[in-house]
Amino acid sequence: MLKNANNKIKSPSILEKLIDFPGNRITLNIEIEMIKITKKNIEKKLLEAIKKAETELPKDVVKALKKAASTEKGLAKIQLEAILENVRIASKESIPMCQDTGIMTFHIEAGTEFKYLVDLKKMLSNAIKKATEEIPLRPNAVDPFTGENSGNNLGRNIPHITWELTSGKECTIHIMPKGGGSENMSALKMLNPGKGLLESKKFIVEHIIKAGGKPCPPTIVGIGIGGGSDICLALAKKALLRKIGERHSEKHVAKMEEELLELINKSGVGPMGIGGKTTVLDVHIEYAHRHPASFPLGLVLQCWADRRKTIKFTKNGSIKVI
């Protein structure tokens, strides 16, 4: 029972029993640990997650970049090697891997019984403010009317949070710092439903070829199909939360992802638009049912610096940064 308590606490009821256990130092430590889960502690973890997102590229992306570097030659190889060396330095020295530390994008799956649901937005804002000073991040929040930079990455409607409510006490926060160069290459296309899927594929390939080196390839392509103009773009962004190589759960959607991946990589855009076989690392598609008269297509690109981090608050009160 104590050994178990040292590592993990399964439920609050076990904790209560342990605290009741007389004269045991270990149980006291656990008590302190549990008290530590406060607003302040959550903010600390959020700050840690933002820092990790900015300085450490996820393993799946590094693996994909290494694989690409081994297949490319000449200038394309030079680009990928520079990227990998850059990723190595950033992680070793704990500095942002790109000077465009992005705009913080949050996708939250929150249980309605999660204790800090109401406070979360404020906590995220506090963590961003601190991260801007401590990591540091580039101040990237500008008033579109006055041109004034807020200086702390906070501003009107920023950070933006996409909420998904679930039942229970758990909460998962996906953090995705999104750079401006790739975001500028986003697209919305309202297609003719009669040839929706066919025209989607043609539009996606043409768009990525025309974007060339601007979104910092090799990119990850997020596609949203259906819903409406806003929904398809939100889905496209959500699709970017998936790991490289992670296919859609439905076979026919997964098949289209693989088809697009292969087709786009025949374009010759290559790393940084310098030419080569690796234009995109993966294609992820999400969809919603559509209006019979509409076929909305949303496209969002993520640069090679595919920065992602997830924080999980489990129902027994622990916080994990994944």
Partner: protein, 206 residues
């Protein structure tokens, strides 16, 4: 496809030796400038006012860095290139006004800049987009910063001393050649082939 080490100030002769596809590692001085800085410097010049540094002696770096003040000194934390095409409106005038010999950016620039590079004797080089930590590693010193209060950290003109800054790929040279024009044609041909494949992949309609 040569590998070349260069030192600022660069002469017209230095840059005329460079061809599309060459890789350069640069040592010496850079100044950063994005849209607002280009606008600001050209405005100052038009008003007959002095620019507080000499752009002719340095390479122009399209970059908005992450910086931090440590013990009263500025330190560059991360400094990769920004998308150069945003500066297309200003660049030909900027090159002829200030005599900049080398641009460092990403994604390439347009026709107007290509003409100006040839006319004024300058090259455009491409640095790996997003490689901010790699760039920061070869920045040895922040010499000065101008327009900081007015334009903010990303847009200010940061004067930097660098050693072996690169790899910089020459993608637009001083002889009128552009790597981008060549690949644009190739890619449009590839697009046609891919579209044919998409049509072929279509399952037959019931």
């Amino acid at each position: 496809m040569k590998k070349i080490k260069l030192q600022t100030p660069l002469s017209i002769k230095d840059v005329k030796k460079l061809s599309v596809g060459d890789t350069v590692f640069l040592s010496g001085k850079l100044f950063t400038a994005r849209d607002e800085t280009h606008k600001k410097m050209l405005e100052l010049k038009k008003k007959g006012k002095k620019i507080p540094f000499n752009p002719n002696e340095m390479a122009l770096f399209h970059c908005g860095p992450v910086v931090r003040k440590e013990k009263n000194k500025w330190v560059i934390i991360s400094a990769g290139p920004t998308t150069s095409i945003r500066m297309e409106n200003f660049e030909s005038e900027f090159l002829s006004t200030f005599g900049v010999r080398m641009i460092i950016g990403k994604g390439g620039m347009g026709e107007q800049t290509l003409k100006a590079l040839k006319k004024t004797g300058a090259v455009y080089t491409h640095f790996t987009g997003g490689a901010g930590a790699l760039a920061a590693k070869s920045i040895k010193k922040v010499e000065n910063v101008y327009f900081l209060e007015e334009l903010g950290i990303p847009e200010a003109a940061w004067i930097l001393t660098v050693a072996n800054f690169g790899p910089l790929i020459v993608t637009m040279d001083a002889k009128g050649n552009s790597f981008y024009a060549k690949i644009k044609k190739e890619r449009m041909e590839n697009l046609k082939k891919i579209n044919d494949l998409i049509e072929k992949n279509q399952p037959p309609r019931h």
